[in-house]
């Protein structure tokens, strides 16, 4: 039976291409992202603005600010095979094909959950993963992302 894990993390403050969370698979498993949510943690900018975020596969892990231990939703489950990285100082390498791209008001939050079979699947390759990042915003902000996956 598959096991579910979750990781939460902010991006480093900035205006473009700042990764919140990267779920990094391995040659043994394909991480299947079935839920994510994003929302700003910084106070809204005086001038109203939208932020753009994307979800995409990554082919190199980059440099993480920290690597939190994925939390098993069932406390009885073993530790995750996939690892997680947040708040990157050097961005992961993103694949050209995006999995989702959205624009949200700076005061808004966004969450997506997959129907069974609708998960975003990362390849079973070392250092490859599925990541969520702030793609563009006018005034610098910190976006917080939560990503849940099964493996």
């Amino acid at each position: 039976m598959s096991k579910n894990y979750v990781v939460n993390g902010p991006n480093a403050s900035g205006t473009a291409n700042k990764t919140c969370v990267n779920v990094i698979g391995s040659a043994a498993i394909r991480p299947m992202v079935n839920y994510f949510a994003v929302g700003p943690t910084t106070a809204p900018n005086a001038t109203d603005q939208n932020y753009e975020f994307i979800v995409a596969r990554t082919t190199a892990a980059g440099t993480a600010g920290s690597s939190p231990t994925p939390l098993a939703l069932d406390p009885g489950d073993a530790a995750a095979v996939a690892t997680a990285a947040i708040t990157h100082s050097a961005e992961p390498t993103y694949a050209a094909t995006l999995l989702m791209q959205m624009y949200v008001n700076q005061r808004g939050t966004f969450q997506w959950y997959a129907a069974p079979g609708g998960e975003f699947i990362g390849s079973a390759t070392s250092a490859n993963g599925v990541a969520l990042k702030l793609s563009a915003v006018t005034a610098a902000m910190v976006l917080d992302g939560t990503v849940q996956w099964r493996e």
Binding site: M100, G108, T109, F110, Q111, Y113, A114, G118, S123, T125
Partner: protein, 97 residues
């Protein structure tokens, strides 16, 4: 929750600046897994792959049929991502007797 599709691949909930909550269904490209919120009348041109029996996002690279499972296998094998499946050739049997 009311759905706009019979078989969505996912659902979204978006809160707006005034606290309003919008819900919607998403569809997923059967070739690249790109997901979008279904919005009838948006003018976006999507597609349908009759081989995979699934929607496609409309991007040119998703026109030829390379199912996302095949793309993942290509990445894992170190092949170019859009390498198609090798064709199946049916060879009719020789008549008996």
């Amino acid at each position: 929750m009311r759905h706009s599709l019979r078989k969505p691949s996912g659902h979204v909930e978006i809160s707006g600046p005034f606290g309003e909550l919008r819900r919607g269904d998403t569809l997923k490209c059967t070739h690249c897994q790109f997901s979008w919120i279904v919005s009838s009348g948006s003018g976006k041109v999507r597609g349908f792959c009759s081989n995979c029996a699934g929607y496609t996002c409309g991007k040119p690279e998703c026109g030829p049929c390379v199912h996302f499972e095949r793309r993942l296998e290509n990445l894992e094998a170190g092949r170019p991502e859009l390498t198609p499946m090798s064709s199946s050739i049916l060879v009719p049997g020789l008549p008996c007797g």
